[in-house]
């Protein structure tokens, strides 16, 4: 089993902390109320919940893209206020849901450079990062392409590269892999595991079981507040909660549950491979 919390020295220090935060696009009808949560440095947190429950809205409050109507937000020890917005934004990278609308440059290269130029990096530093992150995301061949010439998945890769190249300490992904194919999704998971090892804090809004399982912790957003805060394994054992979030457990888990119903006890499998190993003996005992 993977380790649940990172053990580097800064562990347990909260980098994101919300206290009684509320927000509504229409002040009369708040869609988020009394959100209280805290995320430790280096933690990888999945945020789940049904469509329209306010996940995207919640993360936009963290870097003040939307103004909270109540409560307190503290990011890396800084209280979110008018004059800390700039430095807080610097520490948070955000990959948005729609890859079309977050493409700022007229070409892939310009898009990645947009954030780096704003950070006032030197030419040499920008050059290194441009190469490093386009290679990491497999888009080095697309540098001079216009967004209109890219597929949805390629645009998502560009968006991810643009954000990671800025090296924020906290990265937030809003369904950033919705258009990626199976292989690219696995690549992204690998990249994220690498980031976690480097000490990045990751928030990931997702509906994907594998992504949830790869994370350390799950926050369930429902009815405008945090309905549950638990480990991914616990989420997938809670049928009621799963139904609430419109989620389905991964296939090996479904199978294990059915087997348990038939009286065959298996450990909760982490992967298909583990499940096969559990089932193998039954093949012989028949």
């Amino acid at each position: 089993m993977k380790e649940l919390y990172n053990t580097n020295e800064a562990a347990d220090e909260a980098v994101i902390s919300l206290e009684g935060v509320a927000f509504g696009y229409d002040p009369e009808h708040p869609i988020l109320h009394d959100i209280t949560l805290s995320v430790a440095r280096g933690q990888w947190v999945s945020i789940v919940g049904p469509n329209g429950c306010g996940k995207s809205t919640l993360v936009k409050l963290l870097n003040a893209l939307l103004p909270k109507s109540a409560g307190e937000i503290i990011i890396s020890g800084q209280r979110l206020e008018e004059d800390t917005i700039g430095s807080i934004r610097e520490g948070i990278g955000m990959v948005f849901q729609n890859p079309d609308n977050q493409f700022i440059g007229a070409t892939v290269e310009e898009d990645i450079l947009f954030g780096l130029e704003g950070q006032c990096l030197t030419y040499e530093e920008m050059d290194v990062r441009l190469k490093q992150y386009t290679e990491k995301l497999g888009i080095s061949g697309l540098l001079s392409k216009h967004p209109g010439e890219l597929s949805g998945g390629q645009k998502q890769r560009v968006a991810i590269a643009s954000i990671l190249a800025m090296k924020p300490g906290i990265v937030i992904f809003d369904e950033a892999s919705s258009m990626l194919d199976e292989g690219s999704r696995n690549e992204l998971l690998h990249i994220l595991q690498g980031l976690r090892n480097e000490g990045y804090t990751i928030l990931m809004i997702t509906h994907d079981a594998d992504e949830i399982l790869a994370s350390d912790r799950v926050l369930v957003l429902h009815g405008g507040s945090v309905a549950a805060d638990l480990k991914p394994e616990e989420l997938f054992l809670d049928q009621e909660l799963l139904a609430k979030c419109h989620l389905r457990e991964p296939y090996p888990w479904q199978l294990a549950r059915e087997l348990r119903r038939l009286g065959i006890e298996t450990d909760v499998p982490a992967s298909e491979k583990e499940l096969i190993e559990t089932l193998w003996p039954y093949n012989y005992s028949k």
Binding site: I92, F96, N101, A106, L113, G118, C120, Y123, H146, G148
Partner: protein
């Protein structure tokens, strides 16, 4: 490649023109515009043609792309040609059909207008073909920077141009999709009476504008999330660098201008 896709797109071949500073290319284009306007003889036109085609070929971009960029204007050019032939009655009459005569002057002026237009469009696409929008913007910003003292903000202007160039193709795409969606529901714009056509256009515009606003909002989020602040200092990855080649490029146009003026 689709014609619409050519709007503001650069085509990378790594030729000497690609490597020039955007400022020299913009200056060259402005001079070229002046040269076109002062060409008044067949000899000047001929020289201009040889010059233009040579420069276009030297970019190593296939000529067909340049020709394609003039395609949307073909009917306008034909129209201007016909108007000139019908209205200008100078020089000797070459052919006469009943009351209509074809004059040498009309033919010449018509041809000149068409050639000028053709050169103008194909040759200015050389600027966008050989320069990425970012470099073009940066060049423009560099050329406008003396106006900073007058209170003008060239970086804001070029940021706006850049975003517009980035979004126009997307919005056109979207209009196409909405148009098709409406057609698939049985509304064929071409077959409708005028009044209905107007109503259809409004019902096309509303979703296009709403979604353009949503895009703009999302784009602002994206820019702010990447730390963008208006008028904040930025460094540049591509630096403007005026070299000998740039000076020669501009001199080339000046020589052409003198030659055309003499001819």
């Amino acid at each position: 490649m689709n014609e619409r896709l050519l709007l503001g797109r650069s085509i990378e071949t790594g030729s000497w023109v690609h490597k020039l500073d955007a400022r020299s290319k913009i200056t060259g284009m402005l001079l070229y515009l002046a040269i076109i306007l002062i060409s008044h003889s067949w000899a000047a036109m001929g020289l201009l043609a040889v010059f233009s085609v040579t420069v276009m070929l030297s970019t190593r971009i296939p000529l067909k792309y340049f020709i394609k960029s003039a395609k949307p204007l073909r009917f306008l050019m034909l129209f201007i040609f016909i108007v000139q032939i019908l209205s200008v009655k100078e020089g000797e009459a070459w052919l006469t059909f009943g009351s209509f005569s074809l004059y040498e002057g009309g033919l010449r002026l018509g041809a000149f207008s068409v050639i000028r237009m053709l050169f103008l469009v194909t040759f200015t696409s050389l600027l966008t073909f050989t320069t990425t929008p970012g470099k073009l913007n940066q060049g423009l910003e560099g050329m406008l920077s003396p106006f900073k003292r007058l209170g003008l903000k060239p970086d804001r202007l070029t940021m706006m141009i850049g975003l517009a160039l980035r979004f126009i193709p997307t919005i056109l795409d979207e209009s196409q999709i909405i148009l098709k969606a409406q057609a698939s529901r049985g509304a064929d714009l071409k077959e409708l009476p005028l009044k209905e056509k107007g109503r259809m256009l409004v019902s096309l515009l509303v979703p296009v504008i709403t979604s353009a606003f949503r895009r703009a909002q999302d784009l602002v989020y994206s820019m702010e999330a990447r730390g963008f602040r208006m008028d904040a200092p930025r460094t540049r990855y591509h630096r403007l660098r005026w070299g000998t080649a740039d000076t020669l490029f501009v001199i080339m146009f000046i020589i052409m201008g003198v030659a055309v003026a003499v001819l």
